[in-house]
């Protein structure tokens, strides 16, 4: 072990995060390795290790001959301070080697608030933060992940973006980089060639010009780069790689269990949900294969909990078959199955009871909005009756805690909609009185609201976010309307959501802001401990950028979106149609009921497997 590291570790919290050596961490003999990849997650070990996408791509890359992919996470503040004091650069967990020794530095970026951490990690690694300052072919700095459907705010810092699911494109890209090094291409030559790979977006090959009002006037691709880059997907989930042998952390992480991915995409079409649009189309994995992976992964890792993962697990058609198949194994091995999220309209109490196997903790539902009108606007096709019926069954079955998630600030929201949330809580309370077999145990109803952030590639990408004052007024309104002591109300801190709204639909003018805010000390801004709204305000002011331009402005139909060179497969015409239907509070049926023609079906050759 590095001597500096050994000296530092006794002084930092949770040192096990920084040493590697976990079961199933991939070690390779450097004599057989010609491509070293530092796979970075711009957040802590506990968060990054909980990311299934990273585990998949770690396996995919390490299955390549001559390629060694290692993990890198952002150090917590105490560790960063110690590293900087000791002059110790950012290192990879497997070998302990500094990142500068690597050929490719790849970031998995799932959320906008991680942007400052990317800059900080590059700096900690002693890598120049600007793409233009890095003139050599190595280290190549690339990024992927959901937040990269709009990579413009970090366009100056990364060399290229890999769009969509990475199983295939990552291999193609790594091979191209290997060829480039072997044949001595320049970085510019490599980037030109990479831009021709489907799914690769090279920001430096696109010239963006702006109108006087700050909106995008034109986006001009250069050097043969495509006008539109479409995301990549894996067509057949039964053939896609699943990490059966996966790293078992020696210290507790957020998702400390087997994540069994049942399907990708979502049939629902909630208009606010970026994941619901950009992961289209739906592709199911066969239930018998899921069961096999689940058993093998438990056997190898020793985990005793499996989460049945997807965007909406109760929509998996053979969910009962899968649970039946796993039942005996789970009983014998003391393995629990868990569901990440429930829909109030089709969740089966019977199934829940079986999964819980005697434990009855809480249930969580996300009605998202307080009135039927507003739920129709956002196309969350769940009715109050369905929610109450589900709660009734749950209470009758012995559950005594329900969590309800809502968003404030949804398009067209009125005070009536806000107060509707309190009304729902009261009615759920009423159901408990009607249904609970034993009222002595009491009931806990938790209402949580977050602040709606309009995201690119959704039907609400044209919508403004309400102002901070207005959001806080609505929180207060709801707080005063919830009077019962049994109902706990939690609301999301407002400042982060403002910045998230700015970054989510930002353009390249925000690169300067990001650099400024990072130089002022922003690092792990997804964490309340480190986030500072004042710091962001200073950065906006110094860069002459008005955050309201990005967060609080309604876009016109003909406005060119900063991310319009990126396609998730869902057409902009479809999104606009959904936007117009939302204005009229008209719902759209789910994909299983009938195809609404979003365009993502073309990614799988015309017909989706819903």
């Amino acid at each position: 072990m590095d001597k500096r590291l050994e000296r530092i570790l006794p002084r930092v919290q949770k040192p096990a995060r920084y040493v590697g050596g976990e079961y199933n961490a991939v070690m390779k003999d450097l004599s057989g390795v010609d491509t070293r990849i530092a796979f970075c997650f711009p957040d802590t070990y506990e968060i990054g290790m909980s990311n299934l996408g990273m585990r998949i791509l770690y396996g995919v890359m390490n299955n390549m001959d001559g390629v060694w992919c290692e993990r890198v996470y952002a150090p917590w503040g105490d560790m960063e301070q110690e590293m900087r004091r000791a002059g110790m650069p950012l290192f990879a967990l497997e070998s302990g080697d500094p990142i500068t020794k690597f050929d490719i530095v790849a970031f998995s970026v799932g959320y906008e608030m991680a942007f400052p951490s990317i800059l900080n990690m590059l700096d900690l690694a002693d890598i120049p933060i600007h793409s233009a300052e890095r003139r050599e072919l190595t280290p190549l700095v690339i990024a992927g992940g959901t937040a990269m459907y709009n990579a413009e705010p970090i366009a100056d810092f990364i060399d290229l973006v890999s769009l969509g699911e990475g199983e295939e494109i990552t291999v193609e890209l790594v091979e191209l980089h290997r060829q480039a090094r072997r044949e001595g291409w320049t970085k510019a030559e490599f980037l030109r060639r990479a831009a021709r790979l489907p799914g690769i977006y090279v920001p430096s090959l696109y010239e963006v010009n702006y109108n006087d009002d700050g909106t995008v006037c034109e986006i001009i691709p250069h050097d043969g780069a495509p006008r539109v880059v479409t995301k990549r997907i894996v067509r057949d989930m039964d053939k896609s790689y699943f990490p059966v042998k996966t790293i078992v952390p020696s210290t507790e992480i957020v998702q400390d269990r087997i994540m069994l991915e049942l399907f990708r995409g979502c049939i629902r079409g909630c208009r606010f949900c970026q994941a619901g649009y950009v992961y289209r189309p739906v592709r199911n994995r066969s239930w018998d294969l899921c069961a096999k992976y689940g058993v093998e992964a438990c056997n190898d890792s020793g985990y005793q909990e499996v989460t049945l993962s997807s965007l909406s697990t109760s929509d998996y058609p053979p969910l009962t078959e899968l649970c039946d198949e796993l039942e005996e194994f789970c009983a014998q091995r003391h393995v629990n199955l868990s569901l990440p999220s429930l829909r109030a309209d089709n969740f089966s109490m019977n199934l829940m009871q079986r999964l819980a196997r005697g434990r009855k903790t809480g249930l969580t539902f996300a009605p998202e909005a307080g009135t039927q009108r507003l739920r129709d606007v956002i196309n969350k096709n769940v009715t109050l009756e369905e929610l109450l019926r589900s709660c009734h069954t749950a209470f009758a079955g012995g559950y005594n805690a329900v969590k309800l998630y809502f968003m404030l600030g949804l398009p067209t929201e009125t005070d009536e909609d806000v107060l509707g949330i309190a009304d729902i809580a009261a009615r759920v309370m009423h159901e408990w009185r009607e249904a609970a077999p034993n009222k002595n145990r009491g009931v806990r109803i938790t209402v949580s609201t977050s602040w709606f952030v309009p995201k690119p590639h959704t039907a609400f990408q044209w919508e403004p976010q309400i102002t901070r004052e207005e959001y806080e007024r609505r929180v207060k309104l709801l707080r005063e309307a919830i009077r019962t002591k049994t109902v706990t109300y939690n609301w999301h801190d407002s400042a982060t959501s403002v910045i998230e709204a700015v970054l989510a639909r930002g353009d390249r003018k925000l690169c300067k802001v990001l650099e400024t805010v990072w130089r002022k000390g922003a690092t792990l801004d997804a964490w309340e401990e480190y986030f500072s709204y004042e710091r962001w305000q200073e950065a906006f002011a110094e860069c002459g950028v008005d955050p309201a331009f990005y967060a609080n402005r309604r876009r016109e139909k003909d406005e060119i979106m900063p991310w319009s060179m990126i396609s998730s497969g869902v057409t902009e015409a479809y999104l606009w149609r959904e936007y117009e239907r939302s204005r009229a509070a008209v719902t759209t049926p789910d994909c299983r009921t009938h195809c609404n023609g979003c365009g993502a079906n073309l990614l799988v050759g015309g017909k989706c497997d819903v």
Binding site: M1, E6, R7, L9, P10, K14, P15, A16, Y18, V19, G20, G21, E22, Y23, A25, V248, S250, T251, E252, C298, N299, D300, S301, G302, Y303, Q304, R333, H334, G358, R359
Partner: protein, 220 residues
């Protein structure tokens, strides 16, 4: 039903695994064996196992013990190999056997404490430290469970101590009381800091090398 005991090594990266995480790591390794670990009763059944004398985070050890019960009758043979296929780097099970001796017979532990001096070992340091550790009283401040500072005399807890000078370090081979109360060998550094601050080492590395009974024979 059998009561079994594991003897294992904890070193390298694994020396940073905390006590609770170590238990979790073993819990995940046990399904690799055919043994059915006795589980607690109640809503959240968990396998019952206990680590004897938990090692402070950051220290290494050649002789850690873990006790557990299984529902089968077994002498534990053959399970070491199974367990070792699922271990993080630095964690290695050496033996598994029936737990016969009660833990209260574990009286001393022996450790190598390396006192590192980045600018070389100061002149005469070994002699001064020998004298220090030969004192009748060595009072240091220690945090109690209530997070208050309390004075503790560690001299009676040191059974024997031997110091030798090496390259840039002093090697201390120390035998201390293991429990009721036990002494963390790392605290020798605290005593130096208090009585001979100019000899405070730049870094202290601890490795547990033996656990002993009252006769100073290996406890198993």
């Amino acid at each position: 039903m059998s009561k079994l005991r594991l003897l294992f090594v904890k070193e390298k990266q694994a020396s940073y695994i905390s006590h609770l995480d170590l238990i979790r790591t073993f819990q995940r390794a046990f399904p690799r064996t055919d043994l059915e670990i006795k589980h607690s009763q109640g809503y959240h059944p968990h396998p019952i196992m206990s680590i004897v004398l938990p090692l402070p985070v950051g220290q290494s050890s050649d002789c850690e013990l873990l006790d557990f019960e299984v529902t089968q009758d077994t002498d534990g043979s053959g399970i070491v190999e199974h367990l070792n296929t699922g271990m993080p780097n630095g964690l290695r099970v050496l033996e598994c056997y029936e737990a016969r001796r009660p833990i209260r017979e574990l009286v001393y532990l022996r450790a190598i404490v390396e006192l590192e001096y980045d600018n070389g070992v100061p002149e005469g340091a070994v002699g001064q430290l020998r004298e220090l550790f030969a004192r009748q009283n060595l009072v240091i401040q220690k945090r109690t469970k209530r997070k208050e500072l309390a004075d503790v005399d560690i001299a009676p807890m040191i059974r024997r101590i031997e110091l030798t000078e090496g390259e840039g370090l002093i090697r201390t081979d120390v035998t201390v009381q293991a429990q009721n109360p036990g002494l963390n060998p790392q605290l020798l550094g605290k005593a130096i800091e208090r009585y001979l601050p100019e000899l405070t080492p730049d870094f202290i590395r601890v490795r547990r090398t033996a656990i002993l009974d009252a006769e100073e024979k290996d406890f198993r």
